[in-house]
């Protein structure tokens, strides 16, 4: 595969791998499972996106924001000390934690916000779990002068009070969600309800590669800048990419890294949150332990009970605490193209400390899952082989959580 250095969005028609199909299906996964009122706005969004992704003005504006506002390209950093300590493959970190707002989320929100503006929408809504996507949405809404409302579970508001304050500083309204389990999935339900009601002036920015078509596709395309940059950066230093590792909750940072590599020989590893362990009932690993079902507009692997009711999940990282996963990951699992592994809370905490001490980089707890697995993987790989970890976010937001677990008062 040739590297794509042009300022373009992915054109999957040029790839052997041609998903999604025209109806937003990824094999048996994906699709549009929503009530009738949302069909028309989803179609408008799809048509507008397919038109704009080839539009030069749109791409120029998007890339200008990527460079000047988000801070792209992000560095591909060779983790020299970690590599020599593990004594296996060379470990490279794709530094998405250096993006504005501290995570990869803004690659997507800036893209969708420009789309919203082009569609004449004046109001943005978003759901958030840990608050990272909410902050990234509030940020771009401020940047483009749009009204922003963020739905957040009451539980998460309590757990992530700092991000709540950040969103308010950025001019967003944060609406507490008190239904169901009061977490991310319920925030998503509430955002969909708001969208159904205010569909004429409102654009719903979904934060991950899930939801009804075309969201999984457009979020992927906005995040795929990550993988495209890695291709260029590795070519510049004349190195082969042997393995890619990323954490998977909904799966947007993983798909962003993986997608441009799908037609290559590089091995890929998505790391789910195993919580207390995959054999307990406290984890968030639908690809490893879930069943195929339909939630939030798409068919995918889900954690559910014997009656098809969605069950509460657990992870130390709020960003991975979700019972579903993007439909494209479900397909890539079934195709055998990506290996879906997992890391427990404990392993991830250890990796959090390890990377902080050895490289001077404090990773987000979500990201720490990828780091935990990559350390194990690198040790088994040959010297001279190269492994890329998507360092999807920085860990500042998690200091309170980690301190609390370790009994330290800040």
């Amino acid at each position: 595969m040739k590297p794509n250095q042009n300022k373009k969005l992915s054109d999957f028609k040029l790839m052997k791998y041609g998903y999604p199909d025209d109806n937003g299906h990824y094999g048996v996964f994906g699709g549009t499972f929503v009530a009738e009122t949302l069909i028309e706005p989803l179609r408008n969004l799809r048509d507008m996106y397919h038109k704009l992704k080839k539009d030069e003005d749109f791409l120029k504006e998007l890339y200008s924001e990527y460079e000047n506002y988000v801070g792209r390209p992000t560095p591909l950093y060779f983790a020299e000390r970690l590599t020599s300590k593990i004594n296996g493959a060379n470990i490279f970190l794709k530094r998405e934690d250096l993006c504005h707002t501290g995570a990869h989320k803004i690659n997507n929100t800036i893209g969708q916000a420009i789309l919203a503006k082009k569609m004449g929408k004046t109001r943005i809504i978003a759901e958030t779990g840990a608050g990272q996507h909410g902050v990234a949405s509030a940020t771009v809404a401020a940047r483009l002068g749009m009204e922003c409302v963020v739905f957040m579970g009451e539980q998460d508001i309590y757990r992530q009070s700092q991000n709540v304050y950040r969103m308010k500083l950025l001019g967003a309204e944060v609406v507490p969600v008190t239904s169901g389990s009061k977490t991310l999935k319920d925030a998503l339900n509430e955002a969909l309800r708001d969208w159904v009601t205010n569909v004429d002036d409102t654009f719903y920015i979904i934060g991950t590669v899930a939801g009804p078509s075309p969201y999984p596709e457009l979020v992927r395309d906005f995040q795929a800048i990550i993988g495209r940059e890695v291709i260029n950066q590795m070519q510049e230093i004349d190195k082969k990419v042997d393995a890619l590792v990323a954490c998977v909750g909904g799966g947007s940072n993983a798909i962003g890294l993986f997608y441009p590599f799908i037609d290559t020989e590089s091995k890929m590893y998505g790391v789910e949150a195993a919580g207390d362990g995959l054999d307990t009932d406290k984890h968030s690993a639908p690809l490893n332990k879930g069943k195929i079902g339909v939630l939030h507009g798409n068919r995918t692997y889900l954690l559910e009970d014997e009656n098809g009711q969605i069950i509460e999940t657990h992870s130390i990282s709020a960003g991975l605490d979700y019972p579903g996963v993007g439909p494209e990951h479900a397909l890539l699992k079934d195709l055998g193209r990506v290996n879906y592994e997992s890391a427990t809370d404990k392993e991830s905490l250890e990796a959090f400390h390890e990377l902080s001490k050895v490289e001077g980089i404090i990773p987000a707890l979500e990201t720490s899952h990828a780091v935990a697995y990559a350390i194990k993987l690198a040790a088994k790989m040959k010297k001279g082989e190269n492994i890329i970890i998507n360092l999807s976010g920085r860990g500042d937001k998690d200091l309170n959580t980690v301190a609390r677990i370790e009994g330290i008062e800040i």
């Binding site: 699709g31 549009t32 009122t37 309800r193 009970d305 009656n307 009711q309 069950i311």
Partner: protein, 275 residues
């Protein structure tokens, strides 16, 4: 003729509007649901819509979300609901029952087993809220195999071409969502709804029901000129919530809500007969 077609046929003959009532099955218990179903029939309900509770009812407002939560406290399942319908059918062979819910509990049970069990228990039709016709073909065919009718939604922003396509998959009746929003919302615009209903009636042959946001007899009456059926949902569920398991009060409050609606819907006919 199916039970639903027969019901519409009879009502039409008597120039009456069909009254459809919604409750969530198992809210607050399956025994309560059975009593409420009989109360609904006794206060003029022609078709019962029985909600299949789901943990994430994204097209419903807070009222029905809470009803789902109450029903799920004791894990109300599809099999429980089929047993409820069987019990109801012992004394009632005529009132059609439509199951209304989300796809995942049905998919988890298995479409064939779901349809077979539903049909055997006496269910007449299924409305899957998050299943637009594009994704529905296989499911509709399985339902058909077991003589279950498939009810589909039409929204205020559904274009005429699409309404025709939906009608191809639908049987029994079509359900017009009278507002852009969730169930129980309070922003129903009567005039624009009336206009929409006129357009839809000219496009389809199936009976047309209208619901979402209808809370009182007046609104029901006005819309009944353009629609074949009126759906009352959240207003009933609100009573069930407010009475918190007080059986007698719940059923008498529901009578008090539904009787005037039935009377109002039948008003013209009564005066017509007198002339």
């Amino acid at each position: 003729m199916s039970r639903i077609s027969e019901t519409f046929h009879q009502l039409k003959k008597n120039e009456k509007t069909c009254l459809i009532s919604y409750i969530t099955a198992g809210d607050p218990s399956l025994d309560d649901s059975l009593k409420i179903m009989n109360t609904l029939v006794n206060s003029g309900t022609d078709i019962i819509e029985l909600g299949v509770p789901f943990s994430d009812p994204m097209a419903d407002g807070p009222t029905i979300q809470r009803a789902c939560e109450r029903a799920l406290i004791h894990k109300t399942s599809c099999s429980d609901i089929f047993n409820l319908v069987k019990k109801f059918r012992i004394n009632n062979k005529g009132t059609p029952i439509v199951l209304m819910g989300y796809l995942n509990p049905i998919e988890r049970m298995g479409y064939d087993l779901f349809a077979k069990s539903a049909s055997e228990s006496g269910v007449d039709a299924v409305l899957v809220v998050d299943l637009p016709h594009e994704e529905a073909e296989d499911v509709v065919n399985i339902f058909k195999k077991y003589n279950l009718e498939s009810i589909f939604l039409i929204a205020p922003n559904t274009k005429t071409e699409r309404i025709k396509k939906i009608a191809n998959y639908a049987s029994g009746f079509l359900y017009y969502v009278s507002l852009k929003g969730v169930t129980g919302a309070s922003t129903l615009d009567i005039n624009s709804t009336k206009e929409q209903l006129k357009i839809i009636k000219n496009t389809i042959e199936l009976p047309l029901a209208v619901g979402f946001g209808i809370k009182d007899a007046e609104t029901a009456k006005i819309l009944s000129n353009q629609a074949d059926a009126i759906v009352i949902g959240s207003a009933i569920v609100n009573i069930i919530e407010n009475e918190q398991g007080d059986n007698i009060k719940t059923n008498s409050d529901i009578m008090q809500l539904m009787n005037p609606i039935r009377l109002k819907l039948d008003e013209n006919i009564i005066s017509g007969e007198e002339v």
